[in-house]
Amino acid sequence: MAGAQEENKETLQEGRRSFLKLVLTLGAGATAASFISMFRLLTYIPPPQGGTLAWPVVKVANASTLDPSAPLRFNYPLVDTPSILIKVGYPAENGVGPDSDIVAFSGICQHLGCFYSPLLAGGSPKCNSNFRAAAPQGYCCCHGGQYDFVHGGAVISGPPPRPVPRVILSYDDSTGDIYATGMSAPTIFGHGPPGTSDPNGVLKYDLQGGDLVTEATLFS
């Protein structure tokens, strides 16, 4: 009698043990499956660089017609990503042109993607009439982020976590034309590292995802 009970217990243990093995295998399988799910991304893989990716090169303005009191808004590098070109009046960091004072930056705030406005020296933003800019800068009315146009778009104050991307300009001193030829790191809000969110719900991970700007769509 006792022997049969012992045997039953043994079989129970045996059964339990093999069930435990099964559970372990299932758990291992689930973990492996989670890793493999990473490869769903194969459908999104962009081609290796050296393919068709290139920053659009467009002529933005001519140095002789630029007015320090009128910052120029233009679309770059995509049709829906505004940028701001400004003639500071005195040499600025990365400035081009005969006086090294023409700079351009992305017009999208690096905090949450609002389109911010440029301020000239002495100017006030619409949302804060008490504030007076000491030098040309960007002021974002959404949450008060400020970017220093004289010092490469560095954050002066406010919530932006990093400087605003700079549009790389090139100056042709025979004609006076200013070309936009690329952007410097970090990339435009919504097109760069994860953690940023695209307001339209479509994450564009490379330039091919959006419409590259051309001479025709430079100003819209």
Binding site: Y44, I45, P48, Q49, A185, P193, P194
Partner: protein, 476 residues
């Protein structure tokens, strides 16, 4: 029916793979704890590096004009590219840290004694290769930080004797152009060094199988306790594989979450203009050497002394098994080597932190000597105290009285206690002032030395006298 089929399939797999007969020796219980697995963890990190590196190879281009942009592309434009890149970086840091920890653990429990001398030597060689992987990998993104640091390290090679130095420079940097440097570093990083590491790892695993894991030092010195639970043995399949899965899983989990929380972003691209504004600094695992090279005595032609010192240190570590020939393995019976080891660790950490805090700054001799020498003295004193405590049989009974008795000071009476607190406080304040002066670089050497010597002598002398008086009073 299907259950039977399942079991038959599993048995077939076990048979053809060879899992039924464990070719590897069974593993004792005492080695199934993380301290014995630091090397295995480093190997897991290496495997992870290989995997993430392989994925990045799809996009990385090793030419000077595309290295930075292709790395930037991986981080910004490839889905999960940032995660792969960050895991690769933190995995590299983890591998180097684990290698160091693995070495130091082995050092302190003397694994390098007979018959494992060769394992130690090969391990040191592997450590060198791991540092080399860090060095070569660091250059590949071609940022202003990495290229400047790599140039400095190549520059150091020129201080070696001409025959060795020139050959090494040619192997590592080619004719000297940036393009050659990049392609050779790339070649070293993905083929030469990993191949070397893998072959040495294979050799070490073979030797490990031969000798088995080292016993806990106490057991080796005084014999294995009879019927000890911890010497029970487990077969490789399934136990060791399971343990591998467990520690590997936790390790990779922490790496992943650290990568999610702190994704990397690249410093600016290298250009001669950018580099001229930039103070080169190596990655953290070389900061200790960097800091040493910033000491005033090692500037200019003194660099030979610094490089010589580092070489001597490395050689001393490598030949350790042939120097330390005693049979005892317990750290408590090797005060000299334990002290040396602790001093090394303390100095390494201090130099690393200090190097991080003072980029590009030259360190005056007095300050350098003060910090390193002072740290040396402190560590020696603390270690000596610990050993003395142990010798007096107080290990495990750390009450105030036992500590105080081991110090040889009589604090049993409130009055005497008060009499000692005052010089103690005064001494501490003076010591703190001196340390503050040292770290800010302004030290009047004579007054500092004199005051500290006087303090120490007075304090200890008083203590000795008091103890003598007290002992005469109560005979306990």
């Amino acid at each position: 029916m299907s259950e039977n089929l399942g079991r038959r399939f599993v048995n077939w797999v076990k048979k053809v793979v060879g899992l039924q007969t464990n070719v590897l020796r069974p593993v004792p219980e005492y080695s199934m704890n993380p301290f014995y697995w630091l090397g295995a963890l480093a190997a897991i990190a290496f495997g992870l590096q290989a995997f993430t590196g392989l994925l990045m190879l799809i996009y990385y281009v090793p030419t000077t004009d595309q290295a930075y942009s292709s790395t930037q592309f991986i981080i910004q434009n490839v889905p999960l590219g940032w995660l792969i890149e960050t895991v690769h970086l933190y995995g590299a840091y983890a591998m180097i840290l684990l290698a160091f920890l693995h070495m130091f653990r082995g050092y302190f429990v003397s694994v390098q004694k007979h018959p494992r001398e060769l394992m130690w030597v090969i391990g040191m060689l592997m450590g060198l290769l791991v540092l080399g992987m860090g060095l070569t990998g660091y250059l590949l993104p071609w940022t202003v930080v990495s290229k400047s640091a790599s140039d400095v390290s190549i520059g150091m090679l020129s201080f070696l004797p001409a025959q060795i130095g020139n050959v090494l420079i040619f192997l590592i940097a080619g004719a000297g152009s940036s393009a050659a440097e990049l392609t050779r570093f790339f070649d070293l990083h993905i083929i030469v060094l990993p191949a070397g590491l893998l072959s040495l790892l294979g050799l070490k695993m073979y030797m490990f199988e031969s000798h088995g894991p080292s016993k806990p030092p106490k057991w080796e010195d005084s014999g294995t306790p009879q019927g000890s639970e911890r010497s029970k043995e487990y077969p490789w399949w399934p136990n060791v594989y399971l343990y591998f899965a467990m520690v590997g899983g936790v390790f990779i989990a922490f790496l992943l979450v650290a990568s999610v929380l702190f994704p990397i972003s690249l410093p600016p691209e290298f250009s001669p203009a950018a580099a001229s504004n930039f103070v080169p600094q190596p990655d953290w695992y070389f900061l200790w050497m960097y800091q040493m090279l910033k000491f005033a005595p090692f500037e200019g032609s003194g660099i030979y002394y610094a490089l010589g010192a580092v070489t001597v240190l490395a050689i001393m570590l490598v030949i350790l098994p042939f120097v330390d020939r005693g049979r005892t393995r317990s750290p408590w019976s090797r005060p000299l080597y334990v002290t040396i080891g602790l001093v090394m660790i303390a100095e390494l950490i201090a130099l690393t932190v200090w190097g991080y805090l003072t980029p590009g700054a030259l360190i005056p001799t007095v300050q350098a000597a003060g910090v390193t020498g002072g740290l040396f003295l402190v560590v020696v004193a603390v270690t000596a105290f610990a050993f003395r405590l142990r010798r007096k049989g107080f290990a495990g009974r750390f009450t105030v009285n036992t500590v105080v008795r081991a110090l040889g000071l009589p604090f049993r009476h409130a009055g005497i206690t008060g009499m000692f607190l005052i010089p103690l406080i005064v001494g501490s304040v003076a010591m703190e002032n001196m340390v503050g002066a040292l770290s800010s670089g302004q030290v009047d050497l004579t007054s500092a030395a004199v005051s500290s010597a006087v303090l120490f002598v007075c304090f200890y002398g008083m203590a000795r006298v008091m103890r003598h008086l007290t002992l005469n009073r109560d005979k306990t």
